[in-house]
C-alpha cells in the first residue's frame, strides 16, 4: 500500500483564523496569551475543554504558530520524573532566540488520561509546574469537570470549545474536496457529517477513506463505510459505561442497530481502558462478559434462543454495574478493537502457519494446539541450528510448496537463510507481525 498523508494532518489549521467556529475560545486564548506577554497573566495556564475531535490540540498549535512560540509537549511522567523539567522551565531564552521563537508554550495534551491513583504525583507535579513556570501552559481535556481536576481548575482558566455542527463540518469537508479535485455529492457530505457526531477528525478520516483517489463521490460510496456502524458502537458503549441502572444499560440492546456479535470485541477492548483504575470493576465486567459468552455458546450449540435475554443483560448491565466503579469522564475514551486489526494484519502469516500446523498434526498424530505449543518452538530452534537448518528448511519448502520467505513466516522467524552462528543458532527475533 502506498504511503499517504492523512488529510487530518494535511488540512490541519496552522493559523487561528483557519480554525472554524471557535471565535469565543480564540478570543479568550488570545487575551490570555497577551496577558502573559504583558508580564501579568491572570491565570498561568489554560485548560481547553471539549469532546474529542473538535480541535483542542489544533487550537493550541495554531496559537503558538501565529504568535511565534515553540510548542513543547509534555506528559505527566516527564514532569513527575523531573527529567525534562529543568530542560523546559530552566531553559533560558537562548534557545528561543536561536531558532527565532519568541518563547515556549508548554502543552499537556489530554490530561483526562492521567490515572488519578497511579499518577497522583503526576497531577500534583503539573500544578507545581504551573505555579513555577516562566512559560505559558496549555492543557486539553475532554471533561474538565471531573472531580480529580478540582485543584487544577483553580490554577487554570477553563476555556470551553463548542462542538461543531453539521454545517461547519460540511463546509470543511467541501473545502477539502475542492482542494483535492473531488466532486462530492452534498448528500454524501451530509451523511459523513451526520455520522461524525461533531468530531471533525472522524469526519475527515471518513472522507479520506471513501474519497481518496476518486473523482466523484456519491451517497452510495459513503453508506458502505464503517463509521456509521462504528459510531453506533461508540454511542452504545458510552451509554453502557455511564449507565447507573440495570434497565438503562440493557436499553441499548433494544436499538434496531444493536449488533451483539460485534459488541463483544468492542467491549473486550474497552473495558480494560475505561476501568483501568479499578481492579474490581475490571474483573467484574470481564467476568460478566465471560458469562455472557458462555450463554452465547450455549445458544449457538443448542439453538436455544430463549436464553438470549440473559446473554444481553450480562453483556450490558454486567459491564455497567460493577464493584468500585471508577468515576468516568463525560466522554469516555473508546477505541476501535485492536483484535480486529491484529487479525487482519497477521492473516497471511497465520494462513501459512495453519497449513504447516495442520500438516504436522497429522504427521505427528497429535492435536494442533499440541503442535503449536511444543513442536513449533522446536522447529524454530532447529531452523536456527547448523545441525538441522538446511534439511529442515528444504524439507518444509518441498513438502509445503512454500518459498523460503513463506517458510520463515510460517515458522515466525526471519533471516534464517543467512549462515547460523557456530555451535548453535543465532538468536531469532520474532517477525514484526504486530507491534
Amino acid at each position: 500500500m502506498s504511503r499517504r498523508i492523512p488529510w487530518v494532518e494535511k488540512y490541519r489549521p496552522r493559523k487561528l483564523s483557519e480554525v472554524v467556529n471557535q471565535d469565543e475560545a480564540k478570543k479568550a486564548l488570545l487575551d490570555w496569551i497577551n496577558s502573559w506577554e504583558k508580564g501579568k497573566p491572570n491565570k498561568r495556564a489554560v485548560l481547553l475543554a471539549g469532546p474529542p475531535g473538535i480541535g483542542k490540540t489544533t487550537l493550541a498549535y495554531a496559537l503558538a504558530n501565529e504568535k511565534g512560540y515553540e510548542v513543547l509537549e509534555l506528559n505527566a511522567s516527564d514532569v513527575r520524573t523531573g527529567e525534562r523539567i529543568r530542560q523546559v522551565i530552566g531553559g533560558s531564552m537562548k534557545m528561543g532566540s536561536l531558532f527565532g521563537f519568541r518563547g515556549r508554550i508548554i502543552l499537556f495534551d489530554e490530561v483526562d488520561g492521567l490515572n488519578v491513583r497511579e499518577d497522583k504525583g503526576g497531577l500534583a507535579a503539573i500544578i507545581e509546574l504551573i505555579r513555577e513556570s516562566t512559560w505559558p501552559i496549555i492543557m486539553t481535556a475532554n471533561n474538565p469537570w471531573d472531580p480529580k481536576f478540582r485543584e487544577l481548575r483553580n490554577e487554570a482558566e477553563v476555556i470551553q470549545l463548542k462542538p461543531l455542527n453539521e454545517d461547519d463540518i460540511m463546509s470543511i469537508l467541501r473545502r477539502i474536496c475542492n482542494n483535492e479535485g473531488i466532486k462530492c455529492e452534498e448528500d454524501a457530505l451530509k451523511l459523513i457529517a451526520e455520522s461524525s457526531g461533531g468530531d471533525i477528525r472522524a469526519a475527515i478520516n471518513d472522507l479520506q477513506a471513501v474519497a481518496e483517489g476518486k473523482k466523484v463521490v456519491t451517497k452510495d460510496d459513503v453508506t458502505v463505510t464503517e463509521r456509521t456502524h462504528q459510531f453506533d458502537m461508540f454511542k452504545v458503549l458510552d451509554k453502557v459505561f455511564h449507565a447507573r441502572r440495570f434497565d438503562e444499560a440493557r436499553s441499548v440492546t433494544f436499538l434496531p442497530s444493536f449488533d451483539w456479535e460485534n459488541y463483544y470485541p468492542w467491549a473486550l477492548d474497552n473495558v480494560p481502558s475505561v476501568y483501568a483504575k479499578s481492579v474490581d470493576a475490571l474483573s467484574d465486567a470481564l467476568d460478566n462478559l465471560s458469562l455472557s459468552d458462555v450463554v452465547r455458546g450455549r445458544i449457538v450449540k443448542t439453538q436455544g434462543w430463549e436464553l438470549m435475554p440473559y446473554m444481553l443483560e450480562l453483556m450490558t448491565a454486567g459491564i455497567a454495574l460493577v464493584r468500585n466503579k471508577p468515576p468516568l469522564a463525560r466522554f469516555v475514551r473508546l477505541s476501535f478493537p485492536e483484535r480486529i486489526r491484529l487479525m487482519a494484519r497477521t492473516r497471511e502469516s497465520r494462513q501459512l502457519r495453519d497449513a504447516l500446523i495442520n500438516r504436522l498434526r497429522i504427521e505427528l498424530h497429535t492435536s494442533s494446539s499440541e503442535v503449536s505449543l511444543y513442536y513449533m518452538p522446536l522447529l524454530r530452534l532447529m531452523a536456527g541450528s547448523d545441525l538441522f537448518k538446511k534439511k529442515l528448511l528444504e524439507r518444509l519448502m518441498r513438502v509445503l510448496g512454500y518459498s523460503m520467505d513463506s517458510v520463515e513466516r510460517a515458522l515466525g522467524i526471519e533471516g534464517v537463510g543467512e549462515g547460523g552462528e557456530a555451535g548453535g543458532g543465532a538468536e531469532r527475533k520474532p517477525k514484526k507481525g504486530s507491534r
Binding site: S367, S368, S369, M376, S385, L387, L396, G424, E427
Partner: protein, 338 residues
Amino acid sequence: MSIAELIWVEKYRPSRIDEIIDQEEVKERIKRFVKTGNMPHLLFYGPPGTGKTTMALAIAHELYGDSWRENVLELNASDERGITTIRERVKEFARTAPMGKAPYKLIILDEADNMTSDAQQALRRMMEMYANVTRFILLANYLSGIIEPIQSRCALFRFAPLPKDAVIARLREIASREGVKINDEALGAIWEISQGDMRKAINTLQAAAATAKEITPEIVYKTIGFIEPKEIIDLINIAFSGDFVKARDKLRALMYEHGVSGIEILKAVQRRILSGEVQIPEEAKVEVAEIVADIDYRLTEGSDEEIQLSALLARLMLIGKKYGLSTAKETKAPAKRR
C-alpha cells in the same frame, strides 16, 4: 516425504508392539487381542508421553501391515468441530469394508476426555452402531473424564509414567544413532525435566542437540524455555502484577501470532502456577485451581476464547492484589528465547 521424519519423536516411534518400551502387562494383553483378531473397543488412559498413541498405531501396523493407513481413522477430539463432524467422518469411514485380514477398521480417537458428556453419549451410540465394522481405540489422560457407559464398553488399559532407566536408555540410544554427544549429567537433567514423559524427553534431547554440539545439563535447562514457553510464566507474572493491558498483549501474541489454543494456554498457566515455578502462597494455589477449573468450563461452553482468557487474567489480577504479588517482576527472557 514427510516433515515428521526430521522430528525424533516421530522418527524413533516404535512401529511394533514388541518394540514399545516398558508397559509389559499392557503389551501382553494387547498382543493376545491382535493374535486372535478378536478385539474389543479399547480405552488407553494415562499421562502424556507414556505410549498411548504409539500403542494404538502399533496395533494398526500389526493388524493391517503396510495398508494400515486405509484402515485407520485418526481423530483428535480437540481438533474436530464438535460431535457432528466426528459422526460424519466416522460414518463416511465405516461405509467401506476393511482391507486385509482384520474384519474391522480402526478408529483412534485422541483426547477423548476433552469431549463433553453429551458428545460422549453420542460417541457411545456410534460405537454401538458401527460395532460390526469398526473398533474404537480411545485415548485419554484421565479415566474420570470418560463417562461410565463408555468405560464399560471398553477394555481399559492404564499407561504408567515410564521408569527412569528405560527413558535414559532410550535417550542414549537415540543420541548415539544421531551422533550427538551427551554426558550422564545431561541425561539426568532431561529426566528431571521430563520424568516419565518419553515424548517430552526426546523433544528436549532434540532441542538441546539443536542448541549445542555437546549437550551439558546447562544446555538442557536453557533449552526447556523453548518447549515450555517462558511466555506463559511472563503472562502469569504480569497478570499478578496488575498490568492488564500488558498481560493481554502477551495473551494475544500467544493466541494470534503463535496460534496456541485457549485450553492449552489455560493448562500451561495451571501447570506453571501449581508446580511452583511462579511463586505464590500455598493457599492462593487453591484459589487458582478453582479459577482454572471455572475458566476451563467456560472455555468449553463459551464461544470466544479471548474473552474467557481475559476473564482469567482479570481474576489472576485479583489474586495478585489480594496476596500482594504485584511486586513480582517479569522474568528475564533467556538469551535464546524467541
